[in-house]
Symmetry: C2
Subunit: 174 residues, 2 copies
């Protein structure tokens, strides 16, 4: 049975929620990254992502100016790094990525960096931005994809409010 509650209260039941890291590179070469929880696949032919990116984020500005970004699935041992880039603003001249030990790797198509330790990386080109509510939805087409050579690595999830980030495991079948 259901009981009516506020929407905020109901969203407390959403966990675990997926988390992605979105990397960008400025025209002057500086890399940046942010953590994004509002992320889903948006098309399979061609493959696309839809991502909710705060309009105040450096990442948003860089995506609009370069029209390129990378979506990376952090692995479950990257909680600290994900929290770091998820809770700090990128500053011009600063390097939020290397500050927290994220290792970058060159992509094939876009200038935004791959994250070497991620489970997978998707190089994307901007298709469209729509702003239905208080957050721009950035839609990007995947133009190249990469996976970690370590196939045992699994994704990281937000498992509770306040950036509690952990790996998850399926329950045993009954």
């Amino acid at each position: 049975m259901q009981t009516k509650v506020t929407t905020e209260k109901a969203f407390e039941r959403k966990y675990p929620e997926s988390v992605a890291l979105v990397t960008t590179r400025s025209r002057t070469g500086e890399p940046n990254a942010m953590a994004v929880g509002w992320v889903a696949i948006a098309s399979s032919d061609p493959w696309m992502f839809v991502l909710g990116i705060d309009s105040a984020a450096t990442t948003y500005r860089l995506i609009r100016s370069t029209r390129q970004f990378v979506v990376a699935y952090p692995n479950e041992r990257m909680a600290k790094e994900t929290r770091h880039v998820g809770t700090r603003h990128g500053v011009p001249g600063g390097d939020k990525l290397t500050d927290c030990g994220l290792v970058m790797q060159k992509g094939r198509v876009v200038r935004a960096p791959l994250l070497a330790d991620a489970v997978a990386n998707f190089e994307c080109e901007l298709v469209r931005i729509v702003i239905p509510g208080d957050c721009p939805l950035v839609i990007g087409k995947v133009v190249a994809a990469h996976v970690n050579r370590n196939h045992a690595l699994r994704r990281l999830y937000t498992v509770a409010p306040g950036y509690v980030l952990k790996g998850v495991r399926p329950m045993a079948s009954r």
Copy 2:
């Protein structure tokens, strides 16, 4: 280290992926439901969802005609029901929901039904549809929210390709 692969291959690393049930009700009163894996929050003021809904789905037609739907988080014991509505087309006169034992409950604002056993239900009004690729993205505003009285219930996830649906648990902290 990353290795370049096809995008399909890279998306094999996306699991667990969240799954939602989307319910609708036709103008003649028939309920319907489908399973949606491409789902994310799209705004927090007001709260919105973005959902990838196949343009051939009965759900898509009903959302366009009624401009209303409900997003429900199935609980981890609803794998069978979620697979049922996720793999069959709704047919006029048929009742895919009650066929598989889904229990409906009246919402407060929209005519689409809540799912009594879901972890949470979000009544939505259509805001906008955008079609950036091969799948319409349906954006809906949450106009009422409900949670299960059983607070121990947790969400269901797709844990592997081919509709393998299970609950998941966070790993113990190290």
